[in-house]
Symmetry: C2
Subunit: 313 residues, 2 copies
Amino acid sequence: VIAPLRYEDGVLLVLDQTRLPAEEVWLRCATPAEVADAIARLAVRGAPAIGVAAAYGLALADAADFEAAGRLLAAARPTAVNLRWAVNQVLAAGPDAALEAARGIEQRERAATRRIAEHGATLFGSQERVLTHCNTGALATTGSGTALGVIEAAWRNGAVAQVWVGETRPLNQGSRLTAWELERVGIPFKVVTDSSAGLLMSRAVVDRVIVGADRIAANGDVANKIGTYPLAVLAHRHGIPFIVAAPTSTIDPDTPTGADIPIEERDPAEVTPHGHAAANYAFDITPAELVTAIVTEDGVIDANAGKGPDPLA
Amino acid sequence: VIAPLRYEDGVLLVLDQTRLPAEEVWLRCATPAEVADAIARLAVRGAPAIGVAAAYGLALADAADFEAAGRLLAAARPTAVNLRWAVNQVLAAGPDAALEAARGIEQRERAATRRIAEHGATLFGSQERVLTHCNTGALATTGSGTALGVIEAAWRNGAVAQVWVGETRPLNQGSRLTAWELERVGIPFKVVTDSSAGLLMSRAVVDRVIVGADRIAANGDVANKIGTYPLAVLAHRHGIPFIVAAPTSTIDPDTPTGADIPIEERDPAEVTPHGHAAANYAFDITPAELVTAIVTEDGVIDANAGKGPDPLA
């Protein structure tokens, strides 16, 4: 397993995911502000991983700056609730117990990914062709991954023949990070443009879609990487199960519906290098009705999960 | 209007669209093989434009190689039927009348785009926010464009407030070429990732989708740039009109349905620069049931067109 974060002697080492797969560069973050910056510019990304990073980031704060550091870290990115959840846990522990709390969060999230993988793998049939989006592996979670962890566990069971990896524009977390992780493990895959999903489904070469989540509202609506909602709509049309895998730390009971989830808008220059006007929304909302099942460390949510195509289709 | 092709004294000058918008480089093609190569590597692209280019390419052939040159040009790309249609027209004219036939095809296609724009503009309401995909402007047609020509005509009528331009992966015809054309004309636009369409529609900031076509089957199924089918499925879900604009040369009565249209698969390296396995399908098929109206030079096909959201929604 690749560890995207390592805490050592008062420093958080962050594997700079913006440089992968070309090179493996480790950033040394010695202050909360440096960790917040690493989160904001996606050196570390993925909802569970940024929660863990923020927790360690807060543990780097001086006691006098503890509350302010918490606010800074919680504001580094708006959509994933894990960040705020982890910061609140460490704030509650207080400055003296902050490092211990951060270690506890990391252990909890690692353990959660293992159980997510076990639960999720039970949904699979035989030799499935699975489509995924963005990166939800070890890099995104500090553990064994959410959606990608499920795929790996299912593949070890002989239940996955091939993975279709959406490149995930504009920052290519699929073609850069997921492809890199799958290649290391040896799982067969092909990268495709995000807009290939419709053709692949219409040719009946996708048996299942599985993605992660950045926040799940109380009603089951799912915020995830931009492009997730179109995949869910297409899967629904084609009667293909659409699975979301995420730790319970991603579920936000204080957010009633997807409409209440803030959608991060990032620098337009990430979309167009030509200086043209652009809009760069980083996430979209998939309504609960399009989600076949949500897999958490506590099990599979939805009585119909694993029994074939979306019962709502 | 930008002319992507210019025939001068036995040479076809081709504006190299792979180099836009960074630089305007003109290729000098003196043989059918050079034109076929320019078509295959997308120096000239867009269904109407490659038909015109192939026609002039065949006019460059020696009489002895005329038939062979026709086969070479017709095979340069498989999906757009305009290529084969144009080559067959010039083959029927024979080597002595080939140049005249090519000029006739260019004139016919230019005139068609003007009438497509006029017919299409009648569909628009007021101050619409229009989403388009790929490039369907002057660069793609040698005339005033298909879908983009409609948008321009509607904008001149005050019927378009803003254009959402899908970047169109993997080769970015939207963010490179459509953005460049819209900026030259002064039409307000924003480039977005292709997978942003779902979020934009769910936020109700898209009033209409309009795209071109590479081939329209006899039953009305539409082959167009990969990613078109997901846009049609999303538009249908959101009750947004989905319009296809293409000259009648794009309609192929010999292709019964979309399933009979060959889908070009291009070099995987276009998708991933990291050497990972990839699949690069260049087109997808939108079933006729998802198309609100088809606009050709002869008028608008579909009695319900222009009367609001897709009647089939």
